[in-house]
Symmetry: C2
Subunit: 397 residues, 2 copies
């Protein structure tokens, strides 16, 4: 809520050791290597890449991604889109349903706001006729109220459910009906299909992910054929996450990848058996923590689930300074409990010992923090490079 505390800005140029705990720290060298791997992959496979900013919620990192070759960013929330646009990111896709008229008015205002910028374009997903009509109404009202005479258009993707069982109409006819509905409205442009298979991302075996991605691809193909049969160009097919994007890239139907988590890599994604088609990424996001209490059977650190998300399981203790034999157990909102793996004989860390945790799930972990501290030169001997604001932290409407 407030400005950066002075002690944060004073950190720049200081050794990693000086970072107070708990703190979210980015290994900037690893992050940059991950970015290059993804940019190279997208280039080589001739596929657009519009990473999900729901991961980092940071305009600085969004700009770094765009500089590396990204077409823009995806977000899940209108408020996230507002933060991105205010920060100078003008190609923003809200890959989610927005239904509240007050929010749709904000979406429409964003389409006006980006129109004057080169390449500026807002896009949104829909999965209901009601959603299309409400969006059209908001766009028409915004056009009427706009000072400029430019008739702005929003890109609209029809979301189809390709196996996640959450949002999205069924592939085939229902998608065609929505595309036809979109085409009735001059302020809406049917832009293609949103086809994200969220469940496929976390299937542990590579073959299972291949099966799930193949099913999704089949559903997309059939829907595209049906669109063509109705005389509608299918447009862009967008989707894919860090667990599966090489498969969508090779599918021949997907034209855009939304993968974002590869940049940080969390414990969850690292547990996937690697698909040979996919580049290997490094962990780049860490939670620095410190031991504040020691006991015969365990040690307690100052990072609980108010500093990292546990929806995908506990963080892993980074193998560093001979601390590879420790497991992290939940100690509540503000505490973590460290014990030797499998009750083994690893020596427990001493009072004051610094530790690095690899978050179980990056996206909601980042959302707990006001800033991420970028470090260059590695976690051991590096220095603080920059303080990166999580600009869209808590932007949930």
């Amino acid at each position: 809520m407030s400005n950066l505390p002075a002690r944060l800005s004073e950190l720049i140029g200081k050794p990693v050791h000086d970072i107070d705990t708990p703190a979210l720290v980015i290994d900037m060298d690893a992050l940059k290597r991950n970015l290059v791997r993804m940019a190279d992959f997208a280039k080589k496979h001739h596929v657009r890449w519009r990473p999900h900013a729901k991961l980092h919620k940071s305009t600085v990192l969004a700009k770094m991604q765009i500089k590396a070759g990204a077409a823009g960013v995806c977000v899940q929330k209108t408020a996230e889109a507002e933060v991105m646009v205010a920060g100078g990111i003008y190609n923003v896709y809200i890959s989610n349903q927005v239904i509240a008229p007050a929010k749709l008015a904000r979406v429409a205002a964003l389409t006006q706001a980006v129109a004057s910028h080169s390449g500026g374009q807002i896009a949104i997903a829909v999965d209901s006729r009601e959603g299309v009509n409400r969006l059209a109404k908001a766009m028409t009202e915004a056009r009427t109220g706009a000072r400029s005479s430019a008739a702005t258009v929003i890109d609209v993707f029809v979301e189809i459910d390709v196996g996640q069982g959450r949002c999205g109409v069924q592939p085939g006819e229902p998608a065609v009906r929505l595309a036809l509905e979109i085409r009735k409205h001059p302020a809406l442009r049917f832009a293609g299909l949103q086809a994200y298979q969220g469940k496929a991302q976390h299937l542990r075996s590579a073959i299972e992910r291949r099966m799930a991605a193949a099913n999704a691809t089949k559903a997309v193909e059939l829907t595209c054929q049906l669109l063509k049969a109705h005389g509608i160009a299918p447009g862009l097919v967008t989707g894919a996450g860090t667990g599966s994007f090489a498969l969508e890239a090779a599918s021949g139907v997907y034209g855009e990848l939304q993968a974002g988590s590869f940049m940080f890599m969390d414990v969850d994604y690292a547990q996937n058996e690697r698909d040979p088609a996919q580049p290997q990424f490094e962990h780049a996001l860490f939670l620095k923590t410190q031991v504040i209490s020691t006991h015969a059977s365990h040690a307690v650190c100052d990072a609980g689930h108010k500093s990292h998300a546990i929806d995908s399981g506990m963080p892993k203790v980074h193998a560093f300074d001979n601390l590879s034999g420790l497991d992290y157990f939940n100690g509540g909102d503000e505490h973590g409990i460290l014990r030797p793996v499998d009750g083994g004989s690893t020596r427990l860390p001493a009072l004051g010992q610094l530790l690095w945790l690899i978050p179980g799930h990056c996206d909601p972990t980042v959302n707990l923090h006001d800033v991420m501290i970028g470090v260059s030169g590695g976690l051991r001997n590096g220095t603080v490079d920059r303080i990166i604001r999580v600009d869209a932290r808590g932007a949930m409407t």
Copy 2:
């Protein structure tokens, strides 16, 4: 990070219906009734009450609690204490271990900052000799640097482990040794025992909680006897949470209750079989959400685990507007999935339908939000009363 968006301040005086989703909403009438119940209980049982501000992280609510009779507030983090003091709360107890010298310097600075205020006093917990010595060093350095000649003293509680298995020395001799250590330092005052049985709070049956509290009380009694045998006045015994505080109040050894969650009441605490000794509290904290996608088998709302914490399980759909037959399932960071309870025949909510969720666990839920929206006159027909900042949101160091 930024100031309140204009659309939030404009909400004051508006009907509940106008609150955009997802949003954390306080039923202020229910909250005030909960506060009165607790204040009456503490008065009747002649026990001090210093509620944990880790729940609400709000100086406004802390002041409301103090006005209702609370002695001050507890916090878990130095940064939370700083926010409280900056907001005008001068009796603050950091009921946790602080080990980093840089943080202890901040703690010492706080003791100086509150010294000029009537009743101003900082307290802290310790569970190691090293912790005592580091604290003493920081206090001495702060005294040397202080402009005033007043020799400020910090209240120090020895934390004993009464069954939680997290922080705290063992009851008995180890606690006495630490008390003796504290008494060596003129800037530290041995204030008593921190004896919080965290696990007892969530034991579902009342008899199990009574057993756990009885064990904790026995450990406290024996430690107090031993302290007296060493010629040390045991001071204040502080502890207790919303699940057990009536038992500590009746124990004859606890002098201060730290319970905080009763003010909001979450799904977790509501699952406890009520102990007849304890007042009954109402749910006062809700997450307003909206249906953004509908399907034959389920509906999807706009609240995922970036808007409420799931460490203690899923939120409950508030029985309201005939929506009592719905279960909430996790739909990821930004989505919730609603299905009829037990696959029953409850009609699924329509697109745009507003719903109220009761969070599984209040403390980390509040920590996800910049503000809580206070409503008077009930969730159905009430109006927005005030916007309450979560001042210490993300204050984790």
